[in-house]
């Protein structure tokens, strides 16, 4: 059967849970299940476990104080909390907010909501190379700019933004700085203090922790209106009984991904580069989507001209390979990836994009298998296309 192979190359979408992470969270599910807000022994044990996880996570990201970590249900909630919470508490009557145009929807959607609530939002276009230039941020800043949110590593094209410089520019004009670091923690060196940001988003399931846990780093004294209100947990910034097991899993996972970063990052980068070389040399009319040199080691993003992304994805799936695509079809909308469009990629090419992302369990063998399987799939789909020859020359593939 074709499904025998199991070649997972979509680590940017989600990661397997590391068995060590499961082991770390099981005691909390089995024994330390108390409510961390209760005063008796079981509650205190859970509280201690939660606060230990907070300290460990704070240490991993270079926060000065564990109280700067707010545990959330994931990256999306953390993004929403920062994007709505900081402006709404700092300038309840409205002001100006800057976000980059190629943010994750978890940032863009709350930005749209801010517009409905009286804020002016600038959606800053990335440079065609696929990154946000600090000069462009500087030019967009206004006296009433309250927040700048620019993602650290882009989840599609994998480019890394110069966050420290952007944060400095924001601070010069008195704006707070948020960065979505869901894709960078554990991929490149990361330290909130070195970056100088006021807030940063993290997601557990991108770093080998389970789905449903994440965190917002919020520098002390940064104003924040809560998104979820109630019993006042997380120092009144995020109500709801805390997911202690999730927090432990998350802190453990964060320690693990940063511990072997020095050896993993070059290993992943080599796999990524082999993959890109292999594709671009085997197939004509293929290219890397964004040329900016600062990039995540684990994401390869390519335009495969004249083929539709979902079709490639499904054909690869039939061979046991998992990847993702920025084609419209895969998103349920009719628009291809807003990220690709934002860097000037024409829609007809954006429909033919694929993202291949590697991770902890990816081997050279996986890449060679991909390179063996992929070119014939593209050739077959190009052969089936009514327009490939017309649009891209006479020899398909």
């Amino acid at each position: 059967m074709e499904q025998e192979r199991d070649t997972y190359l979509d680590y940017a979408a989600t990661t397997p849970v590391d068995p060590r992470v499961i082991d770390a969270m099981l005691p909390s599910l089995r024994d330390v299940w108390g409510n961390p807000n209760s005063l008796y022994r079981r509650g205190r044990e859970a509280y201690t476990a939660l606060e230990e996880a907070r300290e460990r996570f704070a240490r991993v990201i270079g926060a000065e104080h564990p109280g700067e970590i707010i545990f959330t249900a994931g990256g999306t909630e953390a993004d929403n909390l920062a994007l709505l919470g900081i402006p709404l508490r700092s300038r309840p009557d409205g002001g100006h907010v800057i976000v980059s145009a190629f943010e994750h929807h978890a940032v863009l959607e709350p930005a749209h909501e801010l517009e409905k609530r009286g804020f002016d939002v600038t959606y800053l276009k990335p440079r065609p190379e696929g990154y946000i230039d600090p000069e462009d941020v500087r030019a967009a800043l206004r006296d009433d700019t309250v927040l700048v949110s620019v993602m650290h590593g882009n989840n599609e094209i994998g480019t890394v933004q110069p966050i420290a410089e952007i944060a400095a520019a924001a601070h010069e004009r008195g704006a707070y700085m948020h960065t979505d670091a869901a894709q960078t923690l554990g991929k490149i060196p990361f330290d909130v203090t070195a970056l100088g940001v006021d807030a940063a988003t993290f997601s557990g399931h991108k770093i080998y922790a389970p789905k449903g846990i994440g965190a917002l780093y919020l520098k002390r004294r940064t104003p924040l209106a809560p998104l979820i209100r109630g019993g006042g947990q997380e120092s009144k910034r995020r109500s709801g009984t805390q997911d202690v097991a999730g927090a432990i899993a998350f802190a453990t996972a964060a320690e693990l991904v940063t511990a072997d970063l020095d050896t993993e990052a070059p290993r992943l980068a080599a796999l990524r580069d082999r993959l890109i070389d292999g594709i671009t040399s085997a197939l004509e009319n293929t290219e890397v989507s964004a040329t900016h040199h600062e990039r995540l080691p684990n994401i390869a993003h390519l335009i495969i001209k004249g083929v539709e992304g979902e079709a490639m994805l499904l054909q690869l799936d039939a061979k046991g390979i998992a990847i993702s695509t920025g084609s419209a079809c895969s998103s349920g909308s009719l628009e291809p990836s807003h990220v690709l469009l934002s860097i000037g990629c024409p829609p007809e090419l954006a429909h033919g994009s694929i993202r291949v992302s590697v991770g902890r369990y990816t081997t050279e063998d996986d890449i060679e298998y991909f390179l063996e399987v992929f070119p014939p799939i593209v050739k077959r789909l190009r052969d089936m296309s009514p327009v490939y020859e017309k649009m891209f020359g006479s020899h398909a593939g």
């Binding site: 004249g306 539709e308 979902e310 079709a311 499904l314 079809c329 895969s330 909308s333 009719l334």
Partner: protein, 153 residues
């Protein structure tokens, strides 16, 4: 979002792929900018579809609906062929995810365009009544709210 086995079968083993060199009618619909494009060529004998081939650039549903529509149309009268609805195409495949329903329009439109092309080339009146895709009221975004597709991370 899940495709039925039949969709996957038609996607992985599409029937009637290609172009008929001596086609009597050719329909080309869609737009690469929207990510999908389809070309159908037909041979007509006694106002029935005697042979049929397709080429499609598009997603799994676009390819599967193209494939099945060629199977459905073969041997049909021209009238029967242009009357195939997108719902019939989807039903024949055991259903399509709501967000993919618009793909079946591509297939029926391609067929209609090919039939009309044959008729017009032969000095007759077109019978399809126009393409659904060109209908200003056609809104491919109109997906039932609760079942709209979801995006991945």
């Amino acid at each position: 979002m899940l495709y039925t086995d039949k969709v996957m079968d038609h996607f992985n083993n599409p029937r009637n792929v290609g172009v008929l060199d001596d086609a009597d009618g050719v329909g080309e619909v869609g737009n690469p900018v929207c990510g999908d494009m389809m070309k159908i060529s037909i041979k007509v004998a006694e106002d029935r579809i005697a042979d049929i081939r397709f080429q499609t650039l598009g997603c799994g549903a676009a390819i599967a609906t193209s494939s099945i529509v060629t199977e459905m149309a073969r041997e049909m009268t021209l009238e029967e062929a242009v009357a195939i609805t997108k719902k019939q195409v989807a039903d024949e495949l055991g259903g399509l995810p709501p967000a993919k329903m618009h793909c079946s329009v591509l297939a029926t439109d391609g067929l209609k365009a090919a039939v009309d092309d044959y008729l017009v080339k032969n000095g007759r009146e077109p019978i399809s009544g126009g393409l659904e895709h060109d209908d200003p009221n056609f809104d491919p975004h109109a997906v039932p709210h609760e079942e709209a597709c979801e995006t991945e991370g």
